[in-house]
């Protein structure tokens, strides 16, 4: 029963961060490419990466960078080079979203302390 409760509790947090994720993705309009290789996707990809890295840096500075941001950006680069611009952009957006959520978490946790005693 208690195990179940812990599972629910972890799942709820995971869900709430997912929900946040969707919200932030909608807030941000990153000039989504069509996936067509003859559009000017090179420029928008590079600027998207730059923006994501700037947010990552801010999260890092606060000590709240999430684990996979670097990996997302790395994989995005591979996809981009292989011609999968859409897939690459999606990962860059995810990286940026997580970096922003990390910063929000840092603000939320600024006064964290014991809750049981």
């Amino acid at each position: 029963m208690k195990k179940l409760l812990l599972t629910i509790f972890v799942t709820l947090f995971a869900l709430s961060t997912q929900a946040d994720l969707v919200a932030v993705e909608h807030e941000h309009n990153w000039n989504s490419p069509t996936g067509n290789s003859n559009s000017n996707s090179g420029g928008s990809y590079k600027s998207a990466v730059k923006a994501a890295k700037a947010e990552q840096k801010k999260a890092k500075k606060l000590g709240f960078e999430w684990r996979d941001i670097g990996k997302f950006l790395k994989t995005a680069n591979k996809k981009y080079k292989a011609g999968d611009v859409k897939g690459a952009m999606k990962l860059v957006a995810k990286a940026k979203t997580q970096a922003i959520l990390g910063q929000r978490q840092a603000r939320d946790q600024a006064n964290a302390g014991p809750t049981r005693f």
């Binding site: 195990k3 995971a14 709430s16 890092k60 999430w66 684990r67 946790q109 964290a112 014991p114």
Partner: protein, 292 residues
């Protein structure tokens, strides 16, 4: 005449040494820290009334009788003894300049483990035992070595072994605002939710000890540091030899909640270790142990 002179010199020396020890003892625990320790320990004592204070050092194995039996069986023939012996050898081997590790520390090797992490007033920061060992190497013209595993973990494990039964006494000196600020930062690191899973150390090791999570039984935060470095089956399988320092473990727990681990031996983890260790003040060092 000669004897009187010797007596006077000796008396002066004793006076000095005596004065030094009383000064060292005079570094009293900050009262707010002591209040935190009492609240922390009482919470766990109430939650697990059948356990004695030192029982908490067995972590997940203190949470069920079955697990404890498995642990005891493994500890009958510890898989890590050779490495601890290597650690002893390294610790006792003089540097090229002829000096030893012990020369960097005051007091007996036996009690080194119990006083760290320590507030270093000269540097204005917390110093861990692992960092002090690296600093000792550098001071004596030797290379830095890694602080997560390998040689340093073996030496550190040797020091934990000889400290078995000694009582942990980490001090945040009363009236030292900078030391208290470092402690408070460590406390926040412990209670702040991090990573994509949005979980704090406390969410797992204070709120849910004894519960199972992905096949593991969660240990209580009280007593988590009495036996580090640990030898883990998991680490032995991965890469390296199985030994890891407490800060290596912090990194693993950060990754579990999908947070980026901090750099070892920098302020964030050192302050966390300061807080985390102080919470187990009064417990005995239990020696190097096995973990899954």
């Amino acid at each position: 005449m000669k004897t009187t002179k010797t007596t006077i010199v000796l008396a002066a020396l004793f006076g000095l040494v005596g004065g030094m020890t009383t000064n060292a003892l005079a570094a009293q625990q900050d009262p707010s820290v002591q209040a935190d320790i009492n609240a922390f320990q009482n919470y766990f004592k109430n939650k697990f009334q059948h356990l004695s204070l030192n029982d908490f050092s067995k972590g997940p194995y203190a949470m069920s009788e079955d697990k404890r039996l498995q642990f005891d069986a493994i500890m009958e023939f510890p898989p890590f003894e050779d490495l601890v012996d290597k650690g002893e050898e390294l610790w006792k081997t003089p540097f090229r300049n002829g000096k030893t590790y012990s020369s960097c520390f005051s007091g007996s090797d036996k009690t080194l483990r119990t006083a760290y992490p320590k507030w270093n007033s000269a540097k204005g920061k917390v110093e861990t035992l692992e960092q002090a060992i690296v600093n000792c190497r550098v001071k004596n013209g030797e290379k830095k070595i890694g602080t997560g595993k390998g040689k340093l973990a073996w030496m550190s494990a040797y020091l934990t072994g000889i400290a078995t039964g000694e009582v942990i006494n980490v001090i945040v000196p009363k009236g030292n605002a900078k030391a208290l600020a470092a402690y408070e930062q460590g406390k926040k690191e412990f209670y702040a939710k991090r990573g994509q899973l949005n979980l704090s150390c406390a969410n797992c090791h204070v709120d849910n000890p004894g519960q199972r999570i992905r096949g593991n039984t969660l240990s209580p935060a009280l007593g988590q540091i009495t036996h580090f470095p640990v030898w883990r089956g998991k680490w032995a399988k991965k890469k390296g030899d199985g030994f890891g320092t407490i800060q290596r473990r912090y990194g693993g727990c950060n990754k579990q909640v999908r947070a980026k681990p901090r750099k070892r031996q920098k302020a964030a983890y050192n302050n966390l270790e300061y807080f985390h260790t102080a919470m187990s003040n009064g417990m005995e060092i239990s020696g190097t142990e096995y973990r899954e």
